[in-house]
């Protein structure tokens, strides 16, 4: 088996060398893709990641000249899909879609995760999550300063968090502000919005879903890297001098080692599709996620930056305990 593979590689090298010396455009490689491409989505059918993946796929089919099959491989916030993809053949026919924290946070948080940032090539981001802290419109506070003041007056506020990575960020902000909160784990963003509107939780984490509920909810502070398009007046934690809050993308990735020209072709087709009017109108108008396209090595740099940021937060959190 191994012999056969190395023989294949030698033949391929010879072929490439031969073609290169002859100065031909490489027809065999330019033909990629010659069969359908599969995108493994790291989340269940029907969610935001799945919807975006399917829409981008539909819009990229024409450019690639092949159908794109979307397969849902949910579990652990994209971990199952990333683990499967890490071991997939890097031929360009199998790629994946997940979010930044699948690569930057998960490997640091769990021993079960066997991959790291370096195991993948990064294709393109599609849209940016809109991370922020929201409260019911009737809440007796409007800004993070109000929250800090109320907490210091002795009221322990409750906070609905969808994931340990969100808790990590809020815990840090609380320590920096010298306050404590009741951190309540809640499954799913919509459920958090429900409990906040119903008055069961004082605040909650939203990755953008709060926009669906109009003026029922107000944004207290932004936990993203920059102010949100949908709430331009609300400050970020960083503006308040609290160094937390990073960009999170819905993004496409691939097993490491795809031939450069194939990767290039995928990046071109998929990032163009992500910018198409079709995807833009659904993502921005209906889902409330602004299209943000970062590709290839720039996207890798983004993931690495996020990884370093989470490492700092995890180390600080350990030191605080």
């Amino acid at each position: 088996m191994k012999n056969l593979q190395s023989r294949k590689t030698i033949v391929a090298h010879l072929a490439v060398a031969g073609i290169a010396t002859l100065g031909f455009a490489t027809p065999a490689l330019a033909d990629f893709p010659e069969k359908p491409i599969t995108i493994m989505v790291g989340f269940g059918a029907g969610g935001g990641t799945d919807t975006l993946a399917r829409l981008v796929a539909k819009n990229a089919e024409a450019a690639l000249g092949q159908p794109i099959v979307v397969e849902n491989v949910p579990g652990g916030g994209g971990i199952v899909a990333a683990t499967k993809l890490m071991n997939a053949d890097p031929d360009g026919y199998t790629i994946g879609m997940a979010v930044t924290s699948t690569f930057s946070y998960a490997p640091q948080a769990s021993d079960t995760v066997k991959y790291n940032v370096g195991n993948f090539d990064y294709v393109t981001s599609v849209a940016g999550l809109q991370n922020c802290v929201v409260a019911s419109k009737d809440a007796p506070f409007n800004t993070w300063e109000d929250v800090v003041r109320l907490s210091k007056e002795g009221k322990k506020l409750s906070f609905g968090t969808p994931s340990p990575s969100a808790s990590l960020a809020i815990d840090y902000a609380n320590r920096e502000s010298g306050i404590e909160m009741k951190m309540v784990p809640v499954k799913g963003g919509a459920q958090i919005m429900k409990d906040v509107m119903g008055g069961h939780l004082d605040m909650g984490w939203s990755a953008g879903i709060h926009q669906k509920f109009g003026d029922q909810l107000k944004v207290i502070v932004t936990t993203d890297s920059a102010r949100l398009k949908s709430a331009p007046d609300v400050q970020t934690l960083r503006e308040l001098g609290i160094e937390v809050g990073s960009k999170n993308y819905f993004m496409m990735f691939a097993p490491k080692g795809i031939p450069a020209d194939r990767l290039e072709k995928l990046i071109n087709a998929l990032s163009t599709a992500a910018r198409s009017d079709d995807v833009k109108s659904l993502a921005e108008d209906k889902m409330g996620f602004p299209i943000e396209v970062v590709t290839g090595e720039d996207l890798r740099a983004h993931v690495q930056e996020s990884e370093a940021d989470y490492k700092r937060l995890i180390d600080l959190s350990k030191a605080a305990k």
């Binding site: 029907g46 969610g47 021993d111 009741k182 309540v184 109009g214």
Partner: protein, 497 residues
Amino acid sequence: MLDIIITAFQDALTVQTVVLIILGVFIGQLFGAIPGLSALTAIAIAVPMTYYFTPVGALAFLVAMNKGGTVGGSISAILLNTPGSPEAAATAFDGHPLAKQGKGLKAMRMALFSSVSGDLLSDLVLFAVSAPLAVLALRMGPTEMLAVILFAMTIIAGLVGKSMLKGLIAAFFGILLATVGLDPESGTGRFLFDSPDLMDGLPISAVGIGILAMGEVLRQLILMRNQGNVSHLPMGSGRKEDETVSWAEYRSNIPTILRSAGIGTFIGALPGIGSSAAGFIGYNTAMRRSKKPESFGKGNITGVAATEAANSAVVGSNFIPLLSLGIPGNVAAALILGAFVVHGITPGPNLMQEQGRLVYAVFAAMMLANATNLILGYVGMRFFALIARTPAQIIFPVIGLLCLTGAFITTGEFGMKLVVGFAALGFLFRIFDFSFVTFIIGFVLGPIFELAFRQTYILADGDISYLLDRPVALIIFGFSIVTLLRTMYRHMKRRAG
């Protein structure tokens, strides 16, 4: 207002939509009736296809499948004692004994009528009072949910079986297996054995297929191993009263159906508890209310009616939190939510204002699907009854294969291995008379119980006055205690007497 409704009906009554509804109901019933598959499998496969339909067509098709599945699910439970999903498990309690008495068609008819009645009533509630019921969902915070789940558990505890001890062992084993996966608070892995596949826990579909369907297949095969070429079901007597449900019989079950439909509608309006619990609660409530509780489990047709009306009623009212808050109550609703979003419709508080016409068209499609469900179900049951009479040595191996196929479709190779393991467990449960009902309920309600408990614990922050400030939760906790005491009293009386 009225003109919107009329236009909406016109939208729903196009040739394309009607064909899609009929096709959807048919597929839903077929997938529901085949053990190992379910309407959920069909919906999961169909969702990506519907991206190319019109919005009304896509939603009508998926809703029709969902409804068809509620009818189909009763068929394999009654005829083969192999419920395809936990929601129909209680249907088999009395449905299968009836089939064994040659009254399979009668049981299936009652299941069909009750299922469609329950579904219809819950749809009407959805159309009429969706908004106030959405407020109900809003009022139910973590503590109130904890109380409701506890209450559901104490009601279902009545189905513990002959031995309280064995029933509790099974229930706690179910809860133990439900802890597999990531800890909801810290994200720490529990019983993962280094397998990322286990991060989201053991898939309910694989556990359900293994314990309920495949375990029964194993038992039947071993039971019938020397019996040669015979069916596990007797020939029908051919007598009309053994095959049909008379108006008098339906009428005498109307109180049960209404009560079960109410239970199912309430549970469906609260996201997260689900149709399995509704089925069991409907069954047990009917048994408690009955003058002859001892006849349940031996072929009392009221048991079939109670279960089917309750689990089907969840399907309609599940749309209340889905449409008004964008919160899917179960996996099928989550898939349908995805279809909404792809067609540019975001369920939420403004849906009615922005997309009133579409919502009414979906309502019209629901009504049409209910009617189709009734007609197709009525025509189809003879066909299924005929297939079920295939000799046991042929039909049970085929079902076994279907179970494995179903597991493969929903959860891949990993799911197939789980089905085999849980089939062995289900077989042992049956042989040693452990209640697989309490096991399944422990498994299904375990995760939401744990989450609600931890949320309440964190929110209370060591202060008992937090609980005292929540009268709704306190009242439901009170109900739970009363129910628990009554169940224990009955159990002891039965053992003594």
